[in-house]
Structure formats: C-alpha cells, structure tokens
C-alpha cells in the first residue's frame, strides 16, 4: 500500500500520459480531460483500498476511455433527440494517424506541443501546459499566478476552445515545423520558470513552486528528445539559475546582487548537473541562445568568488548572443561585461550608444547599470541620481528597495566625508 503522497505523485505523473493517450483517439480536449479527472478520482479511492494495479497507466487509460465513450454516447443521443446531429459527423473514435509512431512518450510530447501551440497567447499556453502536462490543479495554478480560481478556470477553458477552433491537430510537428514549434515550447517552459523565479521575493504567500515545475517539464522534454542541444541548454540554464536561489534573498527578504551572494549557499549538485549539460550541448553544433545563456550562468556559478569571475569569457559569450538575438537586455549585459573587462569608462561609452535604442529609453535597467558604472568610477552624486531614476521606473518591489538602499548609502557616505 502506497502512502498518500506517493499515490498523489503517481497519479500526477500518469495524468498527462493518460490524457495524451485519449487525445490520440478522441478529439474533444474538454471531454477527454473530464474523463481523465474522473478516472483519477476513481483511482484515488479504489487504489487506496485495494492497492495499486500492476499497470496503473493502462488501468487509468481503460477507465478514462470507458468514461469518455459513455459521455460521447450520451451526448450523441441528446443531440439526436434535439435533432441537431443530422449534419454533423459523429464525434466517434478516430483511428490513430498512420504517420505517428505510437507510444506514451510521443503522446505526452504531442500534448506538450499542442498546449504550447503558437495560436495561444503566452498566458493561455503557460496555464494550459501546467494543467494538462504538469498535472497541477486549477487552484494551484491560480495561486501561483495570484489570480482567483474562477479567472484561471476561464483562461484554461478559453485556451482549450482556441485549440478546438483553430484546428490544432494532436500530432508531433513535421520536420519543417519542428524548429519554430520547439522554440514555442521552450519559450513557454522558460516563462513558467521565470514566473516562479521572480516570485521568490519573500512577500509571504504560499505559491506553488513554478520553477520546480518548469524544471520537471523541461527534464521530461529533454528525455523525450535527448539529442536536441537547445533543450539541454534550456534545462542547464534553469538548473544553473535555480542553484543560486538560496543566496538570492537575505534573511530580511532583501535581494542580494550576484556579486555579494554567499556562494557557499549555492546548490552544488544543480551547478554540477547544469555545467555537465551545457558542456555536452555546446560541441554539438547549432549553438542557440539558451545554450549561450547557460554557458554564461555556468561561468558565474563556477567562479569561487565574484572577483574570480572570468569576465573576458562572459564578454565573448555575450558578443555571440548579441549577434543572435537583437535583445536590448543582452546588449546591456554586454556593456556590464565590457566594464568588468576594460573598466567602467568602456562600459559607459557603450551605454551611451545604447541609449538611442527606443526599447531601452527610460528603462530602469539602463539607469541601474549606469549607476553601477558611475559608482565604480567614484562619481557618487551622479551614481545616486541614476539609482534614484532607476528606482522610480522599476515595477519590482524588491528591486526598488535595493535601488533605493544603494542611493541612500551613497548619500550617507557623502555626508560622512
């Protein structure tokens, strides 16, 4: 007899596989999900009493399929009574598409591609992925995004509706579609990770750990497509970033910048795994942005002290990344690396060149970086003005507190001089 948590874990892991198996045969996402929920409920009560069957997944698929078939039969009869069925094809079982290699792993992968389809908005795709593939309840997802459960339920139901109306098929993308569709999947997983990572700000709320969910899903994706170097890069980036989480906030709940973090508190096991992944991904050719960001994170994580950071290598990696992405934030980080290698004056020159970019104009990060570089040069009054400019523009409370503290410390040290 399994204990409660082990049974819950087993059911949560099986849920997407059961849903995927049903979707391969039946089109209706909503009805398929209802049937899976019913099968899970039945399993939770029956298994607790009678023990877990030899093949839990097969049991669940069989029960869920039976529920779904019953549902379709009832629906068809109802519609026939109402005389609306005549013109519609019966929503009967569909033969599995011939071009699909069968198997649970491919089914779950096809489900992930479906939930991250570009037809969905990022907010819809993240919610649906957590629900259908991640096995989270609607209440858990709502709590993680801090919205009411009713709102999240609607968001998920609209996402399913968009899949239905836009005719997104349940199958793996073709070779031609593969790169863009995989990019969309990785983007959604990255958004889920970031949402969780950004929420570690210590506003004491019980939130589902989205970073861990994103890592779990990305790990599963990596196992399904073990040769894809960018997926390895994404997983490595998440692990190497998550490794620093214990040192990211101090005992007062304040943000601690990378240079001042207690590196002994970093998670060595995650760093080791992340470094191994990115090291094995990079030589495979086709280097992508996630691999480069992971490589940069690895350089930071492997430095014993902030001073020992290999900035020339970070600058080189940012230079490649900058050519690849056209992301102004990357250019901004490159300017920091320039300053660390060649001195703050070099970084400030680069910032002046970036200031004409409309996407950065008035952005708090531009002011924050300038403030840091001016402080490095010893221009305290100017640095303070820039810290305050950054503090008034950021939309993050912990970051605002950090920037205001920096400005206040400069004012304080000036007063003492």
């Amino acid at each position: 007899m399994k204990d409660g948590t082990a049974l819950e874990d087993l059911l949560r892991d099986a849920a997407p596989q059961v849903l995927a198996a049903l979707l391969r045969r039946f089109r209706d996402f909503d009805a398929a999900e209802d049937a899976v929920q019913e099968a899970l409920l039945a399993a939770a009560t029956q298994w607790r009493a009678a023990g877990v069957p030899d093949s839990p997944r097969a049991w669940l698929i069989q029960v869920a399929s039976r529920r779904l078939t019953d549902h379709i039969r009832t629906e068809t009869a109802r519609r026939r009574r109402q005389g609306v069925i005549a013109s519609e094809a019966p929503p009967a079982e569909q033969p599995p598409p011939g071009d699909l290699p069968p198997g649970d792993r491919d089914d779950t992968l096809a489900l992930l591609f479906m939930c991250c389809h570009p037809a969905l908005s990022p907010a819809s795709a993240t919610a649906l992925t957590l629900r259908a593939v991640g096995g989270l309840t609607t209440a858990e997802i709502a709590a993680a995004f801090m919205v009411p459960e009713a709102t999240m339920a609607q968001r998920i139901s609209r996402a399913k509706q968009s899949i239905k109306t836009s005719g997104v098929p349940f199958r793996l993308p073709t070779n031609r579609e593969w790169p863009t569709r995989l990019a969309a999947v990785m983007h959604v997983l990255y958004l889920i990770f970031n949402e969780g990572y950004a929420s570690t700000s210590g506003e004491a709320l019980v939130r589902t750990d989205l970073s861990s969910d994103a890592i779990r899903l990305t790990r599963a994706l990596h196992h399904s497509v073990p040769d894809a170097a960018e997926i390895m890069g994404l997983l490595a980036l998440m692990l190497l970033t998550d490794a620093r989480r214990p040192a990211r906030v101090n005992e007062h709940g304040d943000l601690v910048p990378l240079a001042e973090q207690d590196r002994a508190a970093w998670n060595a096991r995650l760093i080791q795994e992340g470094v191994a992944l990115v090291t094995s991904a990079l030589p495979r050719g086709a280097v992508g942005p996630y691999q480069l960001q992971a490589a940069i994170a690895a350089v930071h994580d492997e430095a014993a002290t902030a001073e020992a950071t290999d900035w020339p290598q970070i600058r080189a990696l940012y230079t490649v990344l900058e050519r690849m992405t056209d992301n102004p934030m990357v250019a901004l980080n490159r300017a920091i690396a320039d300053a660390m290698v060649a001195g703050p004056a070099e970084g400030l020159t680069r910032l002046d060149a970036l200031a004409s970019d409309a996407r950065l104009r008035g952005h708090h990060r531009l002011h924050a970086v300038r403030a840091h570089l001016l402080e490095m040069q010893g221009h305290r009054a100017q640095a303070r003005t820039e810290y305050l400019a950054a503090a008034s523009r950021t939309t993050s409370i912990p970051e605002q507190r950090y920037l205001m503290m920096k400005a206040a410390k400069l004012a304080d040290s000036e007063a003492k001089e």
Binding site: T151, I156, A198, L255, T395, I397, P398, E399
Partner: protein, 131 residues
C-alpha cells in the same frame, strides 16, 4: 502584467448620480455587472471592489502621542474621489488602457457615457532577473 484601474468620480458627481431616474441607475449597474462577468470569462479579473460613498469616509492620522486622530469626510479640498477599482491581469499596458477607456463609458444620465477619469497603475511584482 497586473494593473489597477481606479475609477475617479468628480466630487459633485456622487450627489448628481443619486438623483438620476431609476432606469439610468439600473443601466449603470448592469454595465458594471456585465463588465465583471466579461473580465472573468476573459480570464483577466483579479479583483474588483466598489467603495462606500465619501460621506462615509474617515481621514485618519497618527496623533503625536499615539492613537488615531479621526476626521469625517467629505473633504472639500478634494476634486475627485476614488469610487472603486479593478485589478486585472493582462498581456500589456495597451489592454489595460483599452479596459480603462471602456470603463469610462459607463452610462449615466439618459444612458450617455459618463466619461469619468480612470487612473491606470501597474502593480509591482517580483524581480524579473538577477541584478
């Protein structure tokens, strides 16, 4: 991204609103009810609250020796009062502005749009990345 939409009512507007015929008030109330239903079904509503009239409001400051110093509303120096607010979770600022503009068209006398100001404020969140 989350935004707070603050519905600002002109100081004299409250009294005037109360004298509208019942069908106008009913139209206004149904507009607000439908708005909240629509925001929920769009997956965007986080919270919505209407506030009691300013005549019920108290202004509180801490006394020098501790304890509250309380004065009654309304406060003649204010030109506008906060009548209610919505918190919405939307993809971008443009959507928040569009919602605010829609709220501002809530019907008043004779069913014509009231066009009161709606303040759009972003809700602060956690840090997006490492510093």
């Amino acid at each position: 991204m989350k935004y707070m939409l603050l519905m600002m009512a002109p100081a004299g507007g409250w009294a005037k609103f109360m004298t509208l015929p019942p069908e106008d008030i009913r139209a206004h109330i149904s507009f607000m009810k439908k708005l909240n239903v629509d925001l929920t079904s769009a997956g965007e509503l986080v919270d919505a609250q209407g506030l009691a009239f300013p005549s019920q409001a108290k202004l509180v400051t801490a006394k020098a020796g501790g304890g509250p110093a309380v004065s009654d509303g309304p406060f003649p120096e204010s030109k506008e009062f906060l009548a209610g607010y919505w918190i919405v979770d939307v993809p971008d600022e443009a959507r928040a502005i569009a919602l605010a503009a829609h709220i501002s068209t809530a019907p008043g006398a004779g069913g014509s749009p009231m066009r009161f100001p709606v303040e759009v404020r972003q809700v602060m969140a956690g840090p997006p990345e490492d510093l």
